[in-house]
């Protein structure tokens, strides 16, 4: 913005001078933005376009790429393994996101009460977020150990025979999800807390005087006013969930029997272990399309359930 005062001090200058100042400010702005523009070009938009082109080739890096048209996409959409990988990714997202958000909102509501030591608890709940996913995955692999791990020991104590967790085709994915919720809900909890603290106290007080009970107050006041926050959390959680990679890579490497094979891992393995660059790029593009579609759908649907005005 050109500052209003500066305009006032020189009100009736000839327009060429003003024009020149505008141009020089624009030039300076682009100079400020030079690193960002460069980054957009070479690390975002350029790679997005290059990746799209690569996805139509058969390329192992060592030999020149061959144009194969839609072959990669056709293989990805018709073969069993990629299909399983897609459905695993959906499974992970559909369970992880609601679970993560429920825990995050529940804990945020609790920590929004003025209890003693709230900031201490907040820090404790946030601890897994700052640890690296690799470290957390190693710890949980050990926690899940069917023979020596404390989880199955605890389950045994209360009379439940614990499953072999990461070694079981049924339980490996739930195990990865439990660990992911533990690791990740702290971020969403803090965002919810900020949203809760933005709700005007007068509204809640007024409803209390009108005799609304706690349940009514949550659903009629807190929840509607929190919907923009909920929407934001939903969108970023879905985007992140579709890309899940590290915990699967460290804990199961996609096993057993591809039970936890997700798109992030599938793309990595094809690109950097099997040198199928074109095939991996096509898979990445399908992931991108999924993320875009879901984000846009959410943007469209949000008008039905979010309230931005009081």
């Amino acid at each position: 913005m050109v500052s209003p005062l500066r305009d006032q001090t020189q009100p009736i200058r000839s327009s060429p001078t003003l024009q020149r100042r505008k141009v020089s400010e624009a030039l300076l702005a682009y100079l400020f933005l030079l690193p960002t523009l460069f980054g957009l070009l070479f690390f975002s938009l350029g790679p997005v376009i290059a990746g799209f082109l690569i996805s139509f080739t058969n390329w192992n890096i060592f030999l020149p790429p061959q144009w194969v048209g839609l072959d990669n996409y056709q293989t990805l959409l018709t073969q069993d393994l990629p299909r399983k990988v897609f459905s695993n990714t959906l499974y992970y997202t559909l369970v992880n996101v609601p679970l993560n958000m429920t825990v995050a909102l529940g804990m945020a509501l609790l920590l929004n009460l003025r209890l003693r030591g709230v900031s201490f608890y907040r820090a404790v709940y946030f601890l897994p977020v700052v640890s690296s996913t690799v470290a957390a995955s190693l710890i949980w692999t050990w926690l899940y150990s069917p023979n020596f791990g404390p989880i199955n020991y605890f389950l045994g104590e209360i009379g439940i025979k614990g499953p072999p967790w990461l070694a079981s085709t049924t339980w490996a994915m739930p195990a990865v999800i439990i660990m992911s919720v533990w690791k990740g809900f702290g971020t969403n909890m803090l965002i919810f807390l900020a949203g809760l603290q933005g709700i005007p106290q007068e509204l809640i007080e007024a409803s209390m005087i009108d005799g609304a009970n706690r349940w009514q107050r949550f659903w009629r006041i807190t929840w509607p006013l929190l919907t923009p926050t909920t929407f934001f959390v939903l969108v970023i959680s879905c985007i992140a969930s579709f890309q899940v990679f590290e915990q699967v890579f460290v804990m199961t490497e996609g096993g057993p029997a591809y039970a936890t094979s997700v798109m992030g891992l599938f793309i990595y393995l094809n690109a950097f272990r099997y040198n199928n660059m074109g095939y991996a790029a096509a898979a990445a593009y399908i992931l991108f399309a999924l993320i875009l579609a879901i984000t846009l759908a959410q943007l469209k649907l949000q008008r039905r359930w979010t309230h931005y005005e009081l």
């Binding site: 897994p128 700052v130 050990w142 020596f148 890309q243 990595y268 991108f288």
Partner: protein, 299 residues
């Protein structure tokens, strides 16, 4: 109804409302106790895995493999840490991580605060389009850009070097630019005007007014960037092959391949890689919270 007071406790209650609800009864205290209990159980669930990590790191191999599991190792084998550091160059990994994280953070601070100033305080054609475009990059999965970027860095001869891990941070980023721009917009325009009267240009205003005022938000951004670089896994896995170039995070995963079932050593290594970031968090907790709150609220 004593229950009302628990969800939205006392300080905000008007005197009239207080009168209606009277003194807290036993039900009120019971509920408060219940809430504390839930929070405590949750906190325990957060901390126990880390305690288990520390506990295992001090056990002998035999004690790590006993059933039922033991929580307090006897004796505590601090020598596990010595063994681990002697068999794997953790201090070298740590230095590599530190170098990458510091260089990445510096670049991110410079490039995003410059862009944030342009977006917040300068007029130029295409400003809104560019800003939306920048935010839209948040939707691009890293797996899409990963392959072409790899080819680019490979062509530059940067494979098996640290450059691919910190150089991109020097070229802006949506999260950081957004965060700093939000803050810059709260600085009164009067400062710009006063400085402009004194003959200062945008660059002068940026360096001597905006940057000093934005210290808290820059601290937050530094912390997040540092943490992300420190914990980054995918990029070092792709780009680094020599052991002496590895970072702590990826070193740890290689360490696992070597010590597959030796959990006492594995957990000692994990403790070593986790401690620095935990210390940083405990000391600078406030800034972490602010960063998340700011990015979430304005989303």
């Amino acid at each position: 109804m004593d229950t009302l007071r628990t969800l939205n406790p006392t300080p905000t209650l008007t005197p009239a409302a207080k009168k209606r609800h009277g003194q807290p009864g036993p039900l009120y205290w019971l509920q408060r106790l219940g809430l504390h209990a839930i929070i405590w159980v949750g906190a325990l669930a957060m901390v126990l895995p880390f305690l288990w990590m520390i506990s295992t790191s001090l056990k002998s191999q035999g004690e790590a493999m006993t059933y039922p599991p033991v929580w307090i190792p006897r004796p505590a084998l601090w020598s596990n840490y010595v063994d681990v550091v002697q068999s794997f160059p953790f201090e070298l990994f740590g230095l590599n991580s530190l170098k990458i994280a510091l260089l990445g953070t510096l670049g991110q601070l410079i490039s995003t605060s410059l862009a944030a100033y342009a977006f917040a305080r300068m007029k130029f054609p295409g400003r809104n389009v560019l800003f939306v475009l920048l935010l839209a990059t948040l939707m691009i999965p890293s797996h899409v850009t990963m392959i072409p970027t790899f080819l680019l860095f490979n062509a530059l001869g940067w494979f098996n070097t640290h450059y691919p891990l910190f150089v991109p941070a020097w070229f802006g980023g949506a999260f950081g630019t957004f965060l700093v721009r939000q803050f810059f917009q709260t600085i009164p325009m009067d400062y710009n005007d006063a400085a402009a009267i004194d003959g200062a240009g945008h660059f002068r205003i940026f360096t001597s007014i905006y940057i000093p005022l934005a210290k808290p938000v820059l601290a937050t951004l530094s912390l997040f960037t540092f943490m992300n670089h420190w914990n980054e896994f995918l990029l070092p896995v792709i780009y680094l092959t020599d052991q002496d170039k590895m970072t702590l995070t990826v070193g740890l995963s290689f360490f696992r391949l070597q010590y597959n079932t030796l959990y006492h050593y594995l957990m000692a290594g994990t403790v070593l890689s986790t401690i620095p970031i935990f210390v940083l968090f405990v000391v600078l907790q406030k800034y972490f919270v602010q960063g998340i709150v700011m990015s979430g609220l304005k989303g």
